[in-house]
Assembly symmetry: none
């Protein structure tokens, strides 16, 4: 029997409030240069400390041993979806990141302007890294000239620098397709083809993109240096059971950055807009408390400073979060999980494979008698080591959302 | 999606040096008679202690909960191959243990001399446990008379006492076959048959072995007491993707005992010969440093003394290893893992199912702030509990050999 079916079968309705507070890239490693401390260990966190004393802790493998996840797989796992089973193409992630509201079946591509010579050979894959304003103008021009191809709607959204995304919204389309990108200069743009040659839907999507090129290239052919464009990671938004279908939970997302709103939307969470600071995010939670069962609250700065390798700034970001925490606890959720979507160690200056610590508090979490929430402490916790995709089930269990299995 | 395909897809080339130091049977259990200490805990290990302070630790299940592995599955797991998926027949392991260089497709059998009566009934399954010299002479006699059967080459290699192995090297052969062994006295030697009756290759191998019996038995029929022989565990060497194919790593094996050289050879490691002591093994590593990316260094004595139930000797073996360790660290590898292939607790006097401790050191391992490398300490480590087959993936991650998964 499939484990997901078992969980579904056992699911009860309990009207509890669950909060998943994600400190992006929270996990870190203790190194000699850092005095054998992580930012979380070195931060002053009186509010997390208080919570720790009445919580369980554990250590989560984000995807599989040694695998470093991007934000997509990292969050899908936290949302309880197996990140290897539910793979979301780069084009889709990029579109979500630019705030495009995708629908199931939409085919999305990461694109960027490039320079072509008279024979259509790519001479600069990034068109001299044109400025964002130029990119925006070119995207607006293309969007004004190409609104539809056949019965499919075309959506063009500029990004930073030479980057943009193109979305094809129509019936019977799917990815993945091969790249319209030679991946080096001195070659022509290859035609896209279905990765699975047996897929009629992917064939239709490939034909659409070929027609898009036929119409779009003449529009910009006299521009310099951006007289062409490449497309990669062409994929469709997969059909994913929504949070409500899967867990029976009305879920809301309180995030600041578009990528995380997009990932939440992918699983059918309602976006609560407007909050810019973590205090405002917690206030939004208080205001919306009665309207939802599950709140995903995303805090970006731990990851951002980890990426910069800035230990002090990452520690400060944790202290700022801790400082705001009493606001969240004004209406204490029945179940509260605090964790990261992965580690972003200052030493690595990027996402990593290191298991992230997790704190789980509820009336039934028990206490691991740990004075603090830290990487080292979480190694000792009662939750043990487990895959991040199981956290949501543990949250449900703590909300008494599962009936007994068997007699 | 298969996890191995995912790892393959993400693999990068980084030119790092990885060392897997296996203290065979390292893991042990603390018992009241031992003063609640394991040999590792009671040993003086200043060099391991120093390393521990800058390393991560964890506890590995060799195969699956409660399963006690032989050396084959134990090492295959450490080499990153699922020991349940990649099963290697006993005949193959035995041949590897006797130093025979097998090729993919070779069919190998464990054999031993026995005593038959006038009607071909087995009267002593071990031929009175003849001496090794007699076995060697009988094997030489058989080998001189039977070099080929049909187009298949026959290789006969004596072992200890009444034991030997027979290898059939030809085209289109495979195992497994049923045993040419009644498994008790008072019965005739049964004819071998394919375990899978649909395999034409196994049928061919079975016919070959029947012919081998027809030719071999008359040669020794007048010998006493060894006038017959039994064959068991008849299997072929499976085709296994080599270390280089699987991980992109040029691997070398520095082992003293033939079994471990054989297991390393099974996955395509290059054998570095000549070293007899652990210091000589570490020196061989230093000499070969530039020629390989991955070094498997095997230390036998922890297992040997565990098998004897000799606590003090096992502790001493650990101290000897620790004493030699600075030599290895003269050219510190980028990633160093120190562990066992399983536990061989003195109390058990044999291999066991108990998870073995593992220490992992790299620039990115972080520190678990543990003063020593011990069974009890490793329970507190950031690597948590995991299956031994994942260790190699963690080593690769620590060598920054994996690209990010997803955007």
């Amino acid at each position: 029997m499939n484990l997901d079916s078992l969980y579904s079968e056992l699911t009860l309705k309990t009207n509890k409030k669950l909060v998943l507070l994600v400190l992006d890239g929270l996990g870190d490693i203790a190194t000699p240069e850092q005095g054998f401390l992580t930012p979380l260990e070195s931060a002053k966190t009186p509010n997390l400390d208080r919570l720790s004393k009445i919580s369980a802790q554990g250590r989560m493998t984000p995807v599989a041993p040694g695998i470093t996840p991007g934000s997509g797989p990292g969050h899908l796992a936290l949302f309880g979806y197996d990140p290897i089973e539910f793979q979301v193409g780069r084009g889709v992630i990029e579109a979500l990141g630019l705030g495009v509201e995708l629908k199931a079946g939409d085919v999305a591509a990461r694109a960027n302007f490039c320079t072509l010579d008279g024979k259509g050979i790519v001479t600069d894959r990034r068109a001299g890294r044109i400025e964002t304003a130029v990119c925006e103008e070119l995207c607006a021009l293309l969007a004004s000239k190409i609104k539809k191809i056949g019965d499919a709607q075309v959506i063009i959204q500029p990004g930073k620098g030479h980057r943009f995304v193109v979305i094809f919204r129509g019936k019977g389309l799917e990815g993945p397709l091969t790249d319209a990108d030679p991946h080096r200069e001195g070659k022509a743009i290859p035609e896209v083809t279905p990765v699975n040659p047996k897929s009629a839907k992917a064939k239709k999507a490939a034909e659409l993109i070929t027609k898009f090129y036929e119409q779009a290239l003449p529009i910009i052919k006299d521009r310099k240096p951006a007289n062409g464009f490449l497309m990669r990671g062409i994929a469709h938004q997969p059909k994913i059971a929504s949070f409500e279908e899967r867990y029976g939970l009305r879920a809301a997302c309180i995030a600041v950055y578009p990528m995380y709103k997009g990932l939440a939307q992918l699983v059918g969470m309602k976006k609560i807009e407007g909050a810019q600071t973590i205090s405002e995010q917690f206030e939004a939670y208080l205001n919306e408390y009665d309207n939802h069962d599950f709140f995903f609250i995303h805090y970006k700065y731990t990851d951002m400073h980890g990426e910069d390798g800035n230990f002090d700034a990452k520690r400060k970001a944790i202290e700022d979060l801790d400082n705001a925490l009493p606001l969240l606890l004004e209406k204490r959720p029945d179940v509260l999980a605090i964790t990261g979507d992965h580690s972003t160690p200052c030493k690595v200056k990027g996402h990593s494979w290191h298991p992230q610590p997790v704190l789980l508090h509820s009336e039934f979490s028990g206490s691991d008698k740990l004075d603090r929430f830290t990487e080292t402490g979480s190694n000792l916790g009662s939750l043990g080591s487990f895959e991040a995709k199981h956290l949501l089930r543990l949250m449900q269990a703590n909300a008494l959302m599962f009936d007994k299995f068997g007699a």
